[in-house]
Symmetry: C2
């Protein structure tokens, strides 16, 4: 299994390289946009932490948010963070244990976490909801000042990091292809299921179009 | 969305607490065992990093592995790491933006990464493959010394960390339940698809039972 696991095919350095290809940027954006889930790594008192949270992208910036009371968010203001977005796309079954692997798409981003000032927060949060569930924001009870205050938003430019992608069949040692061992891929993906209405919904409320039509990624 | 996102329901401290309930340990183990994917956070030159990799559990120990040549793995020997395992279970759609959230199960573990000595590595890697795809190991071309050498395995005791779980319908402000806004959950899960044979498989090889019967988690 070992080395196959995080094989870097390709490893895309975006590291302040003015010659970087638009292709790389597009590939990175697609990986980011395909899920809201990310893992943010940070340091408190010299020890590493990693916290799952939700992210969204606007152009060349990535945003994430959370409770203003969260220890995680209070600690990272202006600090170095590393943000990872990972899609697990399948098990890669080779003819030797060593060449077992997974198919995946992942992005790792580096930078400093900039806290968004209050005046810009409400618009950003609106765009976050619109990005997450298009069409939903306009159906909601409007956000109030207390809620905005209780929310912290961070941003980071997407300009230092790398993307790694592995896809396709296993890659085995030449000699092993003659062995009568079944090899291949067990694909995995995220699946969306039918909406489950809140039992406290008012009687007669139908599933709205923005929920019925929602698609992942 | 904000504070709901990482609401700690419940937050289970396992932190060297002799009075911890067996229930907590069972809940943590179930979250760990339900996916091989984890994110490991670590520090290099005072900056945080987070790398996705594969983990497996044996009793009260968690293991992960990788290429002996990997910068990530060479840097963490004996060092503090934080390991996160996260399941994204669905979008939680409330009547206000603020109470939007996701359903999820997550575990965060802390400890020092202990490198496994060579003499124990082969057995561990065998158990890893067996754990990942039960029944597969015995069908494979045996691992050789060079492959074992190229693989590094780490362990960490599962005794410091926390679990967070959010499930069920949204929790809205009392006054908002009277609004005619559809609320509920859009469940998400990992789905396994039909096996895709390697085009280089020998002619006539059928999908073996251990692949046909494979289930996630």
């Amino acid at each position: 299994m070992p080395e196959g696991k995080l094989k870097t095919t390709p490893r895309t350095k975006m590291v302040r390289n003015p010659a970087r290809a638009d292709y790389d940027r597009t590939a990175v954006n697609e990986i980011i946009d395909a899920t809201p889930l990310c893992h943010v790594s940070y340091i408190i008192d010299g020890r590493p932490y990693v916290t799952p949270t939700l992210q969204w992208r606007e152009g060349g910036m990535i945003y994430w948010h959370g409770s203003s009371a969260s220890r995680f968010l209070r600690q990272i203001v202006g600090k170095d963070v590393c943000l990872a977005i990972t899609h697990f796309d399948g098990f890669v079954l080779a003819r030797s244990a060593f060449h077992h692997s997974i198919n995946y798409r992942s992005v790792m981003l580096f930078g400093k976490a900039t806290q968004i000032e209050d005046s810009k927060k409400n618009d950003l949060l609106q765009r976050f909801v619109e990005n997450l569930i298009p069409g939903r924001w306009e159906t909601l009870r409007p956000m109030n000042d207390q809620e905005a205050k209780a929310t912290t938003v961070f941003s980071m430019p997407i300009d230092e990091g790398s993307a790694k992608v592995r896809s396709g069949p296993p890659v085995d040692d030449d000699a092993d292809y003659s062995l009568p061992i079944w090899a291949g891929v067990l694909p995995v993906s995220q699946a969306l299921h039918d909406p489950v209405p809140d039992p406290k919904n008012l009687k007669g409320l139908e599933v709205p179009a923005h929920i019925r039509d929602f698609r992942l990624g």
